[in-house]
Amino acid sequence: MEYILSIIGPMLEGTVVTLQMFFITIVLSLPLGLLLALGRISRFKAVSGTVGVYIWLMRGTPLMLQLLFVYYGLPFIPYIGVKLPDFPAALVAFTLNYAAYFAEIFRAGIQSIERGQYEGAKVLGMSYVQTMQRIVLPQVIKRVLPPISNETITLVKDTSLIYVLAMNDLLRTTRSIVQRDFDTAPFLVAAVFYLAMTFVLTWIFQKLEKRYAVYDE
């Protein structure tokens, strides 16, 4: 017990890194995903095609590869090449990757709204933007909450990939303690930490789903 208390300090520090990465990624990738989804269903072929290729790239290559590329590869790209410190580099990779997944979820959600909703709004004189804002997207949120919840929980665990950039998140911190002390108990403690985080997320999404359950379709 004393041993566990002694390792909790550094592990909490790792958890802070994990949570920072998680929250900033969510805050950035959800709106970006929505924007990409609207681009994907755009009637302008150039827009929908470009977004389609982007989503294909992001979903078609490993997240780890994208992490490594943004950190090590990006500085060598002419014109846009920048050398990012590890945290921003990881943030860019996570955000771009998760936005692609969120985009597909939002796209499916938007396309599941019946044509009659658009027609009902149109004959009342609403513009496309008004229709999206007031009629379509509020209904989309209810429909996409379960898959968004899934992705969000996955993201908590995917943040552990930043160990490849030698960043001390929860898992890498834990691993170095294990290697230092020749004791695997810290792994169990880390598991409890991750479970606690996903438990809170699950609870939040349950609350949200309940809030949207006031109406049936």
Partner: protein, 250 residues
């Protein structure tokens, strides 16, 4: 109020509207009847801009919504302008198309708020009056999923009226309803007609067309075959296709 001239509309190879012209006067109630696939719903949907016409002219209260350009193709007014012109018309659908995430009252006040920029407080008394008129004031705070089909359609009528349209379009408003629920919707429509609302009603309700409409139009295969007063059209149809349709429908 409405002038549609020489309207042509194709879905791919299929000619759905073939040189159809329709004029509606202020206060007039026009019923459009005809078999499925006759183009009667499409005509109404073209009028409310839910479908684009290929050729022809559409004008509402003297304002041109669409007109032929020199190449003989129909050209629409700019989006904002077209939207403004179409706001003169309210539309009621076969499948209601209420907004499920809004309560009955919110459904009614949504467009006045969003489109006309009315404040919630300013529009609520009017909305409640409309709901009272269709007999649903006590349902104002429930969501549409808790309503029967007839109630939904009456909310849809109140929602359309909240935009103060000069013309009401009805696209088979009772076709998705159980027979015992059509009466309440028809009653609300009849009341509107008595208040001299200009109405175009695509319907299978022959009794309604006969009693309420000033003029009945029979469409078949994308054309207006015959039109006249209900008495003339129902009692002494001239065209064999009208006769055949009425024989099977009545």
């Amino acid at each position: 109020m409405i002038r549609m001239e020489h309207i042509y509309k194709n879905f791919g190879q299929l000619a759905v509207l073939n040189n159809v012209s329709l004029s509606v006067q202020k206060g007039e109630v026009v019923a459009i009847i005809g078999p499925s696939g006759s183009g009667k719903s499409t005509l109404l949907r073209c009028l409310s801009r839910l479908e684009a016409i290929d050729r022809g002219t559409i004008a509402v209260e003297g304002e041109v919504l669409a007109a032929d350009n020199p190449e003989g193709k129909s050209h629409y007014a700019a989006e904002g302008e077209a939207r403004r012109i179409c706001r003169k018309m309210g539309m009621v659908f076969q499948h209601f198309n209420l907004f499920p995430h809004l309560t009955v009252l919110e459904n009614v006040i949504e467009a006045p708020q969003v489109v006309q920029g009315a404040s919630r407080e300013a529009i609520i008394p009017e909305a409640q009056m409309l709901l009272d008129k269709v007999g649903l004031l006590e349902k104002k705070d429930v969501y549409p999923s808790h309503l029967s089909g007839g109630q939904k359609q009456r909310v849809a009528i109140a929602r359309a009226l909240a935009m103060k349209p000069g013309i009401m379009l009805f696209d088979e408003p009772t076709s998705a309803l159980d027979p015992e629920l059509t009466g309440e919707v028809l009653k609300a429509m009849r009341q509107l007609a008595e208040e001299h609302m200009t109405m175009v009603v695509v319907t299978h309700e022959m009794a309604f067309a006969r009693e309420v409409a000033h003029r009945v139009i029979f469409m078949d295969k994308g054309e207006i075959v015959e039109e006249g007063t209900p008495q003339r059209l129902f009692n002494s149809p001239q065209h064999p296709r009208t006769q055949a349709f009425l024989n099977s429908a009545l």
